[in-house]
Subunit: 338 residues, 4 copies
């Protein structure tokens, strides 16, 4: 079986990375690439790295063409734009993996508060499945609409979930301090990411206002219903292309050893193909260009410190989407990703 894949929003970094991975996916075929009319053209002119590898034009979007050419759409559009394009895709019978935040929340209120805009497609929120396979594998298999997680939430949620479910940590005192490479900011040039500004600089941004805060919090709350969860999330940006390291500060409910934590993780993740439990500390260099999430925990003074590392473009975006796609089409989850 060949899965026919359309990429909507093909000219951004998430689109580019999806194309890159799919080019060596043995059971998927890129059939249709779309973008805004002014960004269209041959994919090799837009991304010279694909020259001689992919002979497709990026075209303006056309639902009928998508329906004819594709089984699934990777919707790599920005927040607030996806919810306009997704309903007709679903109506046309296509399966959709959406990279934006538009379908990640069950409650439109969360979305509207943190993204500061009314939700235009609340009807489809119900059927949307949050696409973190390690937590929701079965629902993803049957989903017609998958909301691919944000780049920052993936690592922390995977790192915190086992401890929270075991009742080991206080859900009301969680600090997620994370650092990302610059590709996370998208392909559009911005003054703060101009090379001479970004290179040789390190800084925090959107402290307490980045909407991945509420995304992490809602994910964790869904794991232990009825318990008040509080997450403080502070993102930083480092002068590198890819990778997210999250340093997570948790308060244990009672004394706990690192051996116990290790056992909890091992039980939770022993069968997971893309989670690697490490004894030494993770570094982004070991996960970039892979779909792995590396996890380590330490007990220090009165805290548990959990560290997670992913590639923001792979496990934090396109790799995870393709892992979801593999599940949705019943093929080996690892296909094209190892």
């Amino acid at each position: 079986m060949m899965i026919r894949v359309a990429v909507l929003g093909a000219t951004g970094y998430a689109g580019r990375e999806s194309i890159r991975i799919l080019l060596s996916h043995p059971q998927a075929q890129l059939t249709h690439l779309c973008a805004l009319p002014e960004e269209c053209g041959h994919v090799a002119d837009i991304f010279p790295m694909f020259r001689s590898r992919l002979d497709l034009f990026v075209e303006p979007f056309d639902t009928e063409k998508a329906r004819d050419l594709a089984d699934v759409v990777l919707c790599c559009l920005p927040h607030k734009v996806s919810m306009v394009f997704v309903p007709p895709l679903l109506a046309a019978g296509l399966r959709v993996i959406d990279f934006s935040a538009d379908y990640r929340f069950k409650l439109p209120d969360d979305y509207e508060q943190w993204y500061e805009t009314p939700h235009k497609d609340p009807a489809n929120l119900d059927q949307a499945v949050y696409g973190l396979p390690e937590l929701s594998r079965e629902q993803i298999r049957d989903a017609r609409l998958v909301a691919n997680p944000g780049c920052y939430p993936t690592g922390p949620v995977l790192g915190i979930a086992p401890l929270l479910r075991e009742g080991l940590v206080d859900p009301s005192d969680i600090i997620v301090d994370a650092t990302s490479g610059v590709s996370g900011a998208g392909r559009q040039p911005k003054p703060q990411h101009h090379f001479p500004e970004r290179n040789e600089s390190f800084e925090a941004y959107r402290i307490g206002t980045h909407p991945h805060l509420i995304e992490i919090q809602r994910c964790l709350e869904s794991l232990v219903r009825g318990v008040r969860t509080e997450v403080l999330f502070v993102p930083h940006v480092a002068p590198m292309d890819r990778g997210i390291l999250s340093t997570i500060y948790l308060r244990p409910k009672q004394h706990v050893s690192v051996e116990h934590l290790t056992a909890v993780y091992a039980e939770a993740y022993s069968d997971e193909p893309f989670i690697r439990l490490r004894e030494d500390l993770p570094a982004t260099r070991d996960v970039i260009f892979t779909n792995f999430c590396d996890i380590t925990a330490r007990v220090v003074k009165s805290r548990i410190v959990v560290l997670t590392a992913i590639d923001n473009m792979v496990k934090g975006a396109s790799g995870q989407a393709i892992q979801n796609m593999n599940l949705m089409f019943g093929i080996d989850e690892k296909t094209g990703l190892l």
Copy 2:
């Protein structure tokens, strides 16, 4: 007046940076550079950046020569080595600014526990003054031996001190999450700092075991005697040369507004030449190659988040040492640093 300055340990990064700053200091003159015999040679052969700027040889150390040629010694030796070289310097009547950790603790026990070695010069611990001018300006003026602070403690201590003194924050729940450029690891090549390993990677290290943890904690305890203080310190390294950003998580004792925090900082630091209070978030790019410490605070959920940025080589090492030197010799504290 010209202050005659010797640099002991002139071939490392702290030595190099001290030389760099002193070359444009109008009231100081480099008269004597020392290092291990196998590292000696003309300073311009060791550091080509100084060619045609400084015609001195780095020589093996000789107390008598130091006494004849210098008024003050910047002792840029490693931890555990300084305490062997400092006693004869003091005995020779020289004033000493020591960059190592050897004289930063009042109690030899702290040193011995965290640096895992017996202290060889406990007799001089008493007279040593911790060289953070914003906290101990008057004692520094009269000091014969200044213990220059570690690179990591400087920013967090300056960022936390005013809030702690005002009783605004819980001293037993302090998290310091900090990120440094690679020069902080010294000039000696190491596998993890080999360019292709360090570039494009971000990671934490020495979680809970880095001795700057206890240095920060002891500094803060000295400000509010009799109160139990607990600091959790997690250092990270980013692919850049210079700079430290510290993201500090504090728990307010009662509700507090960012305006109130701002007022507290303004009162504490309004006359400080090297502290800049910022409304926007600090970035290391704005402080590198300067002696400034930029500070911003935010109130988020149940936390205060304080951010501080310094250049680890300047305010975190050589710049601060020269600020201390200026104070010790009664000249304008800013000389050579602005």
Copy 3:
């Protein structure tokens, strides 16, 4: 004496660097900063690195105000814009150091061909002095209008001139292969200099069409009149902030030894404060944040290879301008630069 300095075009990188250097210049005072109306504001809001160091507003340009407040204008405007602003400055009696290409050519034809626009101020070309102090120190002293050299030409011209004047090399077979840091492309964000595009990439650009080609050629021709000179210039960009290394391929007219070349350079430059002749190979790390030009030569097979290194923002722009300013106002050429 304090030289009162205005900076026109203060919001770009050349403006920022001029401010940075002048802040520690003991005989110059920044009195007036100007930019386009939409870019105006407090200098510390535009460049947070200057917070607490300079309390000036960047204002829209006003000739009368400039005349009242300044003795000299550093005109950091783009090519094609300078020639509109410079004539009224000169008419107001101000001395001008212009960073653009607008006054670098004696013949309007060169300018018009390479910059593809008519020259709007040919009348002032005659009095403009090309501001390379090592070649034209005396004319610079008396100049009212100095055309500050381009960033790329400075190193190659200094590296080639002594050999060409001695008749050692064939003027018709000169290749200049140069690599610059990204600050040379200016402060305006551009897709190709967006961090994730520029980092981890190296490339050539504007091969044979970069107008610094003709600037180098005309400079060299002025040294040996009546001889046909041909320069092939290929610029590259590397993922770093600052610095230009030029690798220059020359053909000796007859057999020559590296010792002879060294002697020629030594004679040409022995009194030059900002030229350093090196035996080992120059690297940009040794010159960044300085006004030095490091030069080395090698004889290989049938070629002479000359290497020069400068900081494109200092000796390649603002440092050289301030060196010129010092000469124009009769103070020590090195003031503020060492």
Copy 4:
């Protein structure tokens, strides 16, 4: 068919990169990894990026074990060491792809002059095939010993060969100016590649003495026998991990247009899967992590300027080796590489 592959010298960068590529090669299986005894251990402890991907120990070398476990050996040993290990491998009936320079020259004299050591295995030089598939595909198919090309020669030889064979350029006036990422210097930490030294610096090295000069020259001479060829080669290093851009200066024998050059390249390379002819200028970002060589030519003044870009670790080392391996074992040359 599964090709069983041993990697000798598995702990260096060439070994690591070979492992990385082979992990997703559908017709090859890593069966045996070897290194010096003191560097042995589980591959995931040596390279954490391979954790959970490859469960092999790096072991001390043993010819019998290699013979039992492998069909081919990728010999990633340093120059001068390979020629000690290769003879027994060949004697054991194994096919060998050697990454060192030890078998790249037909004449021991060249090797001995440029590598300054006697050749210890001249007997096998005759059968060694220089492994550049675009030039010697048929001989590679039958080879028992392939000498994998150096990282620098690959691009320039591919860029120059078609023009030289057509007699378009003067073989006695060839300048190759090339810039490499730092991984080319190997995994062993060195002072000049310590992050704070290498970052933010650009420099040339080994001007006229780098042995890739003679390797390029001998390759080109083998294409047009009986003609004197002279290559001047100057390598540079840029602050990035991967990639080589070569800027090649050629002198046309008579007037030539860029269209003509394009046609010559198209004819030479139209069927080549890993050569991409580009109209715009190549950049290393477009080829890193791929086995492509991008080529562009320009005609400027009296010169042809050819630009080539490769990933030094892929087409410049491990990718090319695996392309050679595929040919040697009769499978599709592109397997595992696209």
